[in-house]
């Protein structure tokens, strides 16, 4: 392990992160500070990209907002501002980066659900 990696590891990683996969429908709970108030904003959409990089790993979530406007947000996976990430459903996809989603809308921008056996509690 080199020294830069060891520095990155010394930061506290986000606990209880689910393993994300491209195509997953997720709800990202993000802490937002407004003045001295803090609130949680939820952003729900499809994971279209995962970037590795240890503590600097990031992922991009895409959703269709009102008036059919596509909105993408990129989060740092281990950011302390992320309170939690819920995986709503998995989907069957054949690519690591779902950039082709940007060209699709409506019915064609759907993904087939992939049923995953829940781990025995």
């Amino acid at each position: 392990m080199n020294l830069v990696e060891s520095i990155e590891k010394s930061q506290t990683a986000n606990a209880n992160l689910p393993t994300l996969q491209p195509g997953d429908m997720v709800r990202v709970h993000q802490k937002i500070v407004e003045g001295d108030r803090e609130r949680v904003q939820v952003f729900q959409g499809t994971v279209i990209r995962l970037r590795k990089g240890g503590m600097n790993a990031s992922f991009t979530v895409r959703r269709i907002a009102t008036h059919n406007v596509g909105v993408e947000r990129t989060y740092l996976l281990h950011s302390p501002r992320i309170e939690k990430i819920e995986v709503v459903r998995h989907a069957r996809v054949r690519r690591a980066q779902l950039y082709y989603f940007r060209k699709l809308q409506g019915k064609s921008a759907r993904l087939k659900e992939r049923i995953v056996a829940k781990p025995a509690a």
Binding site: L3, V4, I7, N56, S79
Partner: protein, 223 residues
């Protein structure tokens, strides 16, 4: 003057408590050994000489350097050899001007905890060589038009002087030439992390030179 010699390890990014992320350079700073204390009375000025970077390869240091670092033992033939304990054969020596040299002890060590999180430091190193560089890279000139009939003038410097008066090119005119491989100081960098156990310091922003290069960290002059 607080000063440390270190080695640039590489860059990464760190989160602060608010969740903001900052690009940082990690420097392996120390341990530094006090190899000599210079005093006004003996040397004409007050300074502390620091050493860093143990060299294991035989022949990397001359016998004179080894003797200065106390690596050669005194014997009957050479009774005057310098006795200095606690200092390994270090490859880099840097002097630090000090008003209180009496506080330092020859053979002592300095660790990176002389700097604290939140301090501002200046980091000096040798920048990467760029070879023969044009005016855009070397002096920050603007590029010319790529279209409108401009053929092979994109990165050209433009005019380098007037006409009959003065009839020559002024001295100091910025032109293409060798760039880089010089000593550069990046000043006013904030210390974001100090790890005394592993002798690592992280400063916000970039630091001159390639990874593995020797850098000198000192107290920031612009506080």
């Amino acid at each position: 003057m607080k000063k440390l010699i270190g080695r640039k390890v590489g860059m990464t990014q760190l989160f602060d408590e608010k969740g903001n992320v900052t690009g940082v350079t990690v420097i392996e700073a120390g341990p530094n050994y006090v190899t000599q204390v210079k005093t006004l009375a003996r040397d004409g000025y007050n300074a502390v000489q620091l050493g860093f970077g143990e060299v294991r390869k035989k022949g990397a240091l001359t016998r004179g350097e080894l003797g200065h670092l106390g690596q050669l033992k005194a014997n009957d033939k050479h009774p005057k050899r310098r006795a200095l304990s606690g200092v390994p054969a270090v490859g880099t020596l840097v002097e630090s001007r000090s008003s209180k040299p009496a506080e330092a002890e020859e053979g002592g060590t300095l660790k990176c905890d002389i700097f604290a999180v939140g301090d501002f430091v200046d980091v000096t190193g040798t920048m990467k060589g760029r070879g023969f560089a044009g005016n855009i890279k070397r002096h920050g000139f603007h590029r010319q038009k790529k279209t409108h009939g401009a053929s092979d003038r994109e990165r050209a410097p433009g005019s380098i002087g007037a006409g009959t008066t003065p009839g020559r090119v002024e001295k100091g005119q910025k032109m293409a030439g060798h760039y880089g491989n010089t000593r550069v100081t990046n000043s006013h960098l904030k210390v974001l992390m100090v790890d005394a156990e592993r002798n690592l310091i992280a400063v916000a922003g970039s630091v001159p030179g390639a990874n593995g290069g020797i850098v000198v960290i000192q107290e920031g002059r612009k506080q």
